[in-house]
């Protein structure tokens, strides 16, 4: 009996606790992410932003959360009830489950699998289902159009994200995320692969429906896109899923290009600071860039978005895959 406990129950409990810890961390990130997003946006527009609830308005996100939780869930009469409820759950589930393979510091990872990056790519390609399901099940024109836009957009930009990931993998020689970080001990990949970083950054904005690519919920033309009919906690799940996906993209950029948990220079005072602090600092920096883009850039038109994805990013990233692999082969430095 004790053997059974040691072999099956204990590992299960440990994995459960680890996942819960990561989930709490992601939710905290989302909590302060909303606050930071609004503050930065406000600062750019010379406003004050949230400053009433709590010191410096820090509790504003909590107040919003409570408000959303206590409201009534309204389901449209002609909606497909099952799929309507399933949509936001799928979005949130998918966005949170990708975090299982993210290494926050050396060895700080729930599942250190060999195909980590492929897992993230696979799971984030499922994110589109939540949006299509929600948009279709609402049984209304605007949500459906928003859902279709979103699906086409996410599928298009996944292609260039895939090619950027392949370029990085060519320089690493492993699909394991910890190996990718360790391969950047000498130089972060942002320096040799800078064009790829730009392509990945913009594609990440499009993939997570962040402005300037927030066409699925373009309020000027589609009311609120696929979220139009959603209210209360179901709406909150969509919101949360989107934020978790945004932070996941920040973490991906940190791991692929900014050296993950590694300090910028391998010298004494910097190496004392634990890796997780560096990781979170880098993620916060990328999120700051995301917020600045949101505040500064106007929304794209839909045909421009498609043109950028298929006619600009796809050729550039394909060419970069070929160039990088030829370079590695000619100078014989392929891992």
């Amino acid at each position: 009996m004790s053997l059974f406990f040691m072999n099956y129950i204990l590992p299960l409990l440990i994995i459960f606790l680890q996942s819960a810890l990561v989930m709490v961390a992601v939710l905290l990130m989302a909590y302060f992410g909303i606050y930071a997003d609004r503050k930065i946006w406000a600062a750019v527009q010379l406003r004050k932003g949230p400053n009433v609830v709590g010191p410096f308005g820090l509790l504003q996100s909590g107040a919003d959360l409570l408000k959303l939780l206590f409201k009534e869930i309204i389901i449209p009469e002609k909606a497909n009830k099952m799929i309507f409820i399933l949509g936001p759950i799928v979005t949130c589930f998918v966005a949170l489950s990708s975090w299982a393979v993210i290494p926050f510091a050396e060895g700080w990872v729930v599942a250190d699998i060999n195909v980590g990056i492929l897992y993230i790519f696979a799971v984030s390609s499922l994110g589109v289902y939540g949006i299509i399901m929600g948009g279709w099940a609402s049984n209304s024109k605007y949500p459906f159009m928003g859902a279709m836009r979103s699906a086409a957009q996410m599928v298009s930009y996944e292609v260039s994200i895939g090619f950027v990931i392949i370029t990085v993998l060519l320089c690493v020689g492993s699909l394991n995320l910890s190996d990718i970080v360790n391969a950047q001990k000498n130089i972060w990949f942002i320096f040799p692969l800078f064009p790829m970083f730009i392509v990945f950054f913009v594609s990440a904005l499009a993939e997570t429906n962040r402005p300037p690519f927030d066409l699925p919920e373009a309020e000027a033309e589609l009311v609120a896109g696929y979220q139009t009919e959603y209210s209360s906690s179901l709406f909150m799940l969509y919101f949360l899923g989107e934020l978790a996906a945004t932070f996941l993209m920040c973490a991906m950029i940190t791991i692929l290009f900014l050296g993950g948990w590694l300090p910028p220079f391998d010298v004494f005072p910097l190496t004392v600071i634990p890796g997780v602090v560096w990781f979170l600092l880098k993620m916060a920096f990328i999120f700051y860039l995301f917020s600045m883009v949101k505040a500064l850039v106007p929304r794209y038109r839909y045909d421009q978005l498609m043109r950028l994805g298929w006619k600009v990013f796809l050729p550039i990233s394909l060419a970069c895959v070929v160039l990088t692999s030829s370079f590695l082969l000619i100078f014989n430095i392929a891992p």
Binding site: Y8, N114, V115, L118, A122, M133, W136, A151
Partner: protein, 201 residues
Amino acid sequence: MFPALLFYIFSLTIIASALMVIFSKQPINSILFLIFSFINAAGLFLLAGAEFLALIIVIVYVGAVAVLFLFVIMMLDFNPETIKEETKKYLPVGLLVGSVLFVEIILMMNSPEIFSKEFKIIGRIVETDLTNTEILGSLIYTEYFLQFQMAGFILLVAMIGAIVLTLRHRDFVRRQNIHDQVSRDPNTSIELIDIELKTRK
């Protein structure tokens, strides 16, 4: 014990959701159950230790192919009455194809030696420390390079065919040419014209 339990859970859900694909009345539910069974199939691959294939199944079938299915089914306007009649029409053909496939699988399971003699490729177990991603990569790009390239070419031809079938040039659609737009300057785009002024008498 634990893997066996997982195996039964995965396979039972695959069978159950495959049955639901056939028997559910709404096409949208069928496609969602199909996606669910794909994901469970990926789980089976994971149990067999083929993590690369499992994730490729999720990326290709669930992330790309099934999204297109879902798209098409959502856009079509289905009438439950006509679906019933269509089902009756296609039932014999479906039963024939299904039973042929079923018998083939049973035959293959009962006499594996026929197949393994003819095709030596099937079922070769390699004992190495390499992960199965590395093994697949090294085999595909060396031993089976020709077949791999042929498969790629067939897909390319299919893609070009699909584009040729759907491409239509419509002259009345105004398109944005970014280069023309950016290279405009006042000299070429602004013209001063003298207009004769008619004074009112």
